[in-house]
């Protein structure tokens, strides 16, 4: 059988140089050393890896190039970095450190033209927009947030996805703030509605607690990136820290189950 295999992507959050995991963007818990995690995902032959620095934008500082360089030189799979990127020059510098893709959050809302300029030089395939979406308190629908879920930007994730595509992004990561760290399953409606807005690849993040959750997402969306944080850093109901990733056999079963 010849087909594109769904991408299963660990997302590592970095804060104060350590690896952390949050619940609904709060309660950040230290779960280890980022380099060590990259080494384990190398051994497990993970499909891709995303590293998001959750402090950079909030602290208004530049990306930590030294850390990115160290991670990139260790990482044997495609790597996406996000956090604090505000200029084309910063993005190009990061791509030069051995990173395949750079992700924009707040900059995608503030200055989408930046992505157009960047993709003209480095190509659409290296430009990613991460959309942190949260259900509105009143009524239906969603709002996009930046600055680690602190700033409501008053734009819907569906509109932002379209803006991203129109401005040269090659991938959208849609992250559910409500589902973050809950491990109760993805927000499938949110993901489906974003997916139906754009013709670029979409990656789902937020809520995966089991391989079955990945399976449900993949069977509904087919070509989709299935990303997760907690699932790949915790084991069991007491959330013991254990970096893990499905084996080739597990993944084969997951994909076979949907065919």
């Amino acid at each position: 059988m010849n087909m594109l295999i769904p991408r299963i992507i660990p997302v590592l959050l970095v804060s104060k140089k350590g690896l952390v995991k949050t619940v609904q963007f709060k309660e950040s818990k230290y779960v280890g050393d980022p380099i060590n995690a990259v080494r384990i995902f190398n051994e497990q032959e993970a499909d891709e890896l995303a590293v998001l620095d959750i402090d950079a934008t909030v602290e208004g500082r530049e990306p930590d190039y030294r850390m990115i360089e160290n991670l990139a030189s260790e990482c044997r799979m495609p790597l996406c970095y996000g956090g604090g990127i505000k200029t084309i020059a910063q993005a190009i510098k990061i791509l030069g450190l051995g990173v395949e893709k750079v992700a924009f959050g707040s900059a995608a809302v503030d200055s989408p033209e930046l992505m157009k300029g960047l993709s003209g030089q480095v190509g659409r395939q290296s430009v990613v927009v991460v959309i942190d979406a949260k259900k509105k308190f009143w009524g239906g629908g969603y709002d996009c947030y930046t600055h680690n879920g602190r700033k409501n930007r008053g734009i819907s994730p569906f509109d932002l996805a379209k803006v991203a595509e129109d401005h040269g992004a090659g991938e959208v990561v849609v992250n559910s703030i409500d589902k973050d760290g809950m491990m109760t399953g993805y927000d499938l409606e949110l993901i489906h509605n974003v997916r139906s807005q754009v013709n670029i690849p979409v990656t789902a993040l937020g809520g995966a607690g089991s391989l079955d959750d990945l399976g449900r997402l993949i069977s509904r969306e087919q070509i989709i990136g299935a990303a997760a944080g907690s699932l790949f850093v915790f084991k069991g109901k007491y959330r013991a820290v254990l970096i893990n990733y499905p084996s080739r056999e597990d993944k084969r079963r997951l994909v076979a189950g949907i065919a």
Binding site: M1, I5, D47, M77, E100, G170, N199, Q222
Partner: protein, 206 residues
């Protein structure tokens, strides 16, 4: 010595990491002199076709590269946009390619509505690679070989004999090509775990 051409594009470190682990001598070549010492050449590349060609043309290494590949017959491996640059031209740009393996780089067809929703672009992720013909570069790769892809354009060889392996996304396309000492891969062996390492190991001895 394998030279990884450093003209300002592509994930050079990923290649040197693989060769360091394999204990294969390699270097980053950013001058004609460094390039001239090599016995194998990797031409990486990301980004748009015209931008990549203009970077290569402006690197001062093109002349040396051409004489090594076309006259001294040093094996060369173009990767991703580095492969696309081996073509005569690309639908992505207006400039000329190297023209070392005649062909044209085409954009994947985009359909309105349903089909393109089903097949987003870029083609991003892991896909099977099916060997079309036996080649030393592909030795040891079995039917389940998987490589990482990240591209919106594909190589259409002028002669199908140059297609060494194919993949399928929207349509069947050549993802590994070869003509004498010149090779190209659309996927990213430097980021494709065991199968990618196998291919890069093979290239070190073709």
């Amino acid at each position: 010595m394998i030279a990884i051409v450093d003209y300002g594009l592509g994930n050079l470190r990923a290649f040197s990491n693989v060769y360091r682990r394999l204990d294969v001598p390699h270097c980053l070549a950013d001058t004609p002199a460094k390039l001239a010492q090599s016995t194998r050449i990797i031409l990486p590349g990301v980004g748009s076709f015209d931008y990549a060609m203009s970077k290569l043309n402006g690197s001062g290494m093109r002349e040396t590269l051409e004489s090594m590949v076309l006259e001294r017959r040093v094996p060369v491996l173009g990767v991703c946009v580095g492969m696309q640059m081996l073509a005569d031209s690309s639908e992505e740009g207006v400039g000329k390619g190297l023209g070392w393996i005649p062909g044209r780089v085409r954009r994947f067809p985009v359909h309105d509505g349903g089909a393109s929703r089903k097949y987003p672009l870029p083609h991003m992720g892991w896909n099977n690679v099916i060997v079309d013909r036996e080649a030393a570069l592909l030795s040891g790769l079995d039917a389940g070989a998987r490589f990482y892809f990240l591209h919106s354009y594909y190589y259409e060889c002028a002669d199908s004999r140059w297609s060494l392996a194919s993949s399928e996304y929207i349509l069947k396309f050549s993802c590994v090509i070869g003509r004498e000492n010149i090779y190209g891969v659309q996927c990213h062996p430097e980021k494709s775990h065991r199968d990618g390492i196998e291919l890069l190991k093979n290239f070190a001895s073709v």
